[in-house]
Amino acid sequence: MISFYGQLGLLVGDVMVAILTSGFRIRQTLHQIVVIGVGSQVVVTITGAFTGAVLAAQTYFKFSELGLEAATGPVVSIAMCRELGPVLAALMVAGRMGSAMSAEIGTMRVTEQIDALRAMGTDPVEYLVIPRLAAILISMPILTAEAIWCGILSSQFLTVDLFGIPEPWYTEQLLSHTRSSDVIAGLVKSVLFGFLIVIASCHRGLSAKDGAMGVGQATTRAVVDSALAILVVNFFLSLLLERWFPTHLVDF
């Protein structure tokens, strides 16, 4: 337990040192942006769209009983911006990329490729972890924004086109209750989740051992670690961000 967090701490330390002291590998980073960012778009947009839609449906069903159907738009948009967009996008990226990262790095570990890197005087953290980290920090806010956008669009489609709320009313309610602080809070979260995914997954990959089975275990654990970290950290972040970017804050 202690050694687990110790190792994570050491990895974060190595990452910081590598960021501060070594050149930036643009080619690797661009490659990772394509793999992580571009490759995850479909998954993330579908996730966003359907989450927004079910949320809108359930909110509408209950709120219309109380005559509050106009609140559907703001409820969906704030939930998507602050919680569901960043969390679900991050969980999808963790499932997709966290597993791929730990499997790739884990395989390199057990086939001595990591040792070969070290033997050639290349720091595995600088070569493997930093480009992935840079790529995910750039990709996550964009992916999250897409998820939020799709969620809001699908909820609009459902409430306006299917349930018949007048469009101007829906839009006006949504815009007057969704502030830029909500969007910023979500994007800040997404960047942090990206960091958690890369650190958790690369740590599992770099410490893989015992051949194919070990790589399999590392992969499973990477996804579980990332997902748990995202959910737990999200709760505390929600409390913190409510102080820094409160939802009642007036637009900047």
């Binding site: 390199m108 086939t111 070969a116 070290r118 033997a119 050639m120 005087g121």
Partner: protein, 262 residues
């Protein structure tokens, strides 16, 4: 004052264990500069583990490793980097980067060493690939190569940045006799023309006799013989004798019956 440069590697009283099982038990020996040193020993004797201590990939439990006179015991990964760039390594299983083509694998240490000119890199890659008999195979992926080819690509990768020392873990294992001879010849040539210091782990006595100047024989993590090649045959250490006897038997089987597997 001692004008003679220190040996390339000086190993003193090295101990290493994994999961409570001792692998190296007080290993000491020297690797003379500009010469080829062969490390012999049975399977599981700890040869590959020993080799990993020479460039600091593994840290010993106790004991010292001096590289060109410098004790690397307290060095961090970062401090080891410049030493490692001067030491090429051929891993036992090649350890090729399987996401890169043969050409990219061989070019990798050149790029990492700061070479930027694509032309210089391509020329050097072709040059070392032809040294190992794989000229023009740059575009192949490691997965599409035979075991012996992978080993030779790995050798080319180790040679590419012109290191002043190379650690070979079984350079000839898994090669046919003709290739095996040409690789042994290559190791000898590198030593005689470029004065590269070589450490060669091998089971292959013929290639040891041809290429090596200095021999270290290990058994169960202990050095049983260190000295010249000619005296190796005269050693009266029991483990060395057993090794030599087994090798002689492989060349001329004693009888027509099958050799019992132990």
């Amino acid at each position: 004052m001692n004008l003679e440069p220190p040996p390339y590697f000086e190993i003193e009283d090295l101990y290493q264990a994994f999961d409570g099982q001792a692998v190296l038990q007080g290993v000491s020996f020297k690797v003379p500069r500009g010469r080829t040193t062969a490390i012999l020993g049975g399977s599981g004797a700890g040869k590959s583990v020993l080799l990993r201590h020479l460039n600091g990939l593994l840290k010993p439990i106790s004991g010292t490793v001096r590289v060109t006179g410098i004790d690397i015991g307290a060095f961090s990964e970062r401090q080891l980097r410049s030493i490692r760039r001067r030491i090429g390594v051929l891993f036992q299983d090649g350890a090729l980067f399987d996401s890169m083509s043969v050409g990219e694998n061989v070019a990798f240490p050149l790029r990492e060493g700061g070479e930027r000119s694509a032309k210089t890199i391509a020329d050097r890659v072709e040059e070392v690939l032809s040294l190992v008999g794989l000229s023009g195979q740059q575009a192949k992926m490691p997965d599409a190569l035979s075991g012996g080819m992978r080993k030779r690509v790995a050798l080319a990768r180790a040679l590419a940045p012109r290191p002043d020392c190379i650690l070979y873990d079984e350079p000839t294992a898994g090669l046919d006799p003709i290739l095996s001879e040409s690789i042994t010849h290559l190791i000898r040539t590198l030593q005689s023309t470029l004065h590269i210091t070589s450490v060669m782990v091998t089971h292959h006595l013929a290639s040891m006799r041809y290429a090596a100047d200095h021999v270290v024989f290990m058994k169960s993590g202990i050095v049983r013989y260190e000295g010249s090649v000619s005296q190796f045959d005269q050693s009266d250490d029991e483990a060395v004798r057993a090794f030599l006897r087994a090798d002689a038997m492989a060349i001329s089987p004693p009888t027509s019956d099958k050799i019992e597997s132990s």
